[in-house]
Symmetry: C2
């Protein structure tokens, strides 16, 4: 007989955690939590759907890991400190091997950041995972505070999530990559680095930030819209990984500009703070790259090394277009 709803919860998801701010965890109508005094509460939610955000052959561990990581990335983009997660899991049937592996990936990502799974919901239907992250913040990084003359930075490298997707969809041949390299690229798609640690320091000096989930151009545009400013990006400044460097122009630039699933941060910085950045870079063992500037002239311009203005017809991934 397959496991029932409550057996699934107790077997795979009801794990002890050490957080003292969980008054009532999994198993009642609501989780009861004790937020710290004097901080704001930050909340965000994300959904991963089969075929849209992962595939039938994506390892369940990776689906579990990523379902947490995408939520954490939103928390990082605000400079928040994640604390608690709710999980809504919709399953077509009970596959215990899949569930075990999914839960392992989920808790692997939760445990790294000392986050407690405090509740959730289990329903029958097409495979989908919705996570809701809750955390705290004092000084916050929003999208709305970018200023003219700010430098635009990104963390890490861009486009590897998009490269992984292109490889999975056979839009780019795997011939140019070693098998180990392909595995690394795909891992980047499903187990993204989350820039929580960097954000802890960046929130002290940056003006605005967003995490890059829909592609650099689409996400930077949100900062521009919210801050009522424009920007110029220099295509040759984009930090590409060694793997993406192997892809010919102009495709590699296009992937770096519009490929989703990077989960790096894009942030804007007043020039007076640039010197602070090197310290943070060293302290967090990170890489921050200046890729352009915030300008008064509205709109988003991308300029090549030769000074050519790129056409931005394809402004990144948009749902429902």
């Amino acid at each position: 007989m397959p496991l029932g709803e409550f057996d699934i919860i107790s077997t795979y998801f009801q794990k002890q955690n050490k957080r003292k701010d969980v008054v009532v965890g999994i198993g009642d109508d609501c989780a009861v939590l004790s937020p710290p005094v004097g901080k704001n509460l930050l909340v965000s939610t994300d959904t991963l759907n089969l075929h849209q955000h992962f595939f039938a052959d994506t390892p369940a561990y990776d689906v579990g890991y990523k379902s947490v990581a995408v939520s954490l990335s939103d928390m990082a983009a605000m400079g928040g400190e994640p604390a608690w997660l709710l999980l809504s899991l919709t399953l077509p049937d009970v596959d215990e091997l899949w569930l075990e592996s999914f839960a392992q990936g989920l808790f692997a990502c939760l445990d790294v950041h000392d986050i407690a799974l405090v509740g959730g919901n289990l329903t029958k239907g097409p495979l989908a995972i919705t996570t809701e992250i809750l955390g705290f913040g004092d000084k916050m990084l929003t999208r709305a505070n970018a200023k003219v003359n700010d430098a635009i930075y990104v963390t890490g490298t861009l486009g590897e999530g998009g490269l992984a997707l292109a490889l999975l969809k056979n839009e780019i041949a795997e011939d140019n990559f070693a098998i180990a390299e392909i595995n690394c690229i795909k891992q980047r798609l499903f187990r993204p680095a989350v820039r929580l640690n960097e954000a802890k320091y960046l929130k002290q000096i940056a003006h605005a930030a967003i995490d890059i989930s829909d592609g650099l151009l689409a996400d930077l545009q949100h900062i521009l819209d919210a801050s009522h400013v424009g920007a110029t990006i220099y295509a040759d400044k984009l930090p590409l990984s060694a793997s993406l460097q192997k892809v010919p122009l102009p495709l590699k630039t296009q992937i770096a500009l519009t490929g989703g699933d990077d989960y790096e941060l894009c942030f804007t910085l007043p020039s007076a703070q640039v010197s602070q950045l090197a310290h943070i870079e060293q302290h967090t063992k990170s890489q921050f790259t200046c890729i352009g500037n915030i300008e008064q002239q509205l709109g988003l311009r991308v300029i090549t090394k030769d000074g050519e203005l790129l056409s931005l017809e394809k402004l990144g991934y948009k749902h429902f277009l």
Copy 2:
């Protein structure tokens, strides 16, 4: 050209609200909220899936309304005060008529209770709605505090959600009901009364509570499990609506005991507090019915008017069985 993700959000979901505790609402990576000092934070999540929780011909308004109501019912069951909602909406395509009606139903239920929609997520995939409700509580009603000799009460009437489902699935013929009556019964399924007001008072005197979403027996069993006690229920005491009274025995009893989607509260009360209940009943214009007792002997027994012990083979709806 169909609306894009951000157009959908701004057109249908970005509504002004009057809550002063929303620091940053829809439109950034996280919502930023200001919880009251000295209260616990209560959170819960629920998912409604097409074919499982509603049907292709269910009016979008009702789907929107119910997606909030089911979350509020969890808040009521803990005696909490709801404040903020996150919405994760998965759509197969952009149907503006559906969206407009869905949003109207959603806000209709939110506005009654002064709840702000503070964020969410929109993805492409099989139609599904996940809501996350956040609220506050001081004295809380959990499932774990039922005591031997407590009386077991329910609010309102039982089984009308189950009756509506049985009518929709043609398991019960519509012949015995007038068309207006059938509409009322179906409305009960999709626009359930939420017992938030009753819970505000009941939390002062009740020992334990749960909302009835999976059927009385299944949900009462959660109280028994969490409180390490047993119970006897008297079948002839079950409060049935006039509509359900028309269904012959034993079917009407079975529906009242195991039909889901009632969203009434089941609570346990020490005998010393029974006199208080009449005041609350009058003040909240509600109906509370004693249906049985908490006992030391573990397990759940249902006894008919003739003293016969009913077989509980079908212990309510369970997912994945």
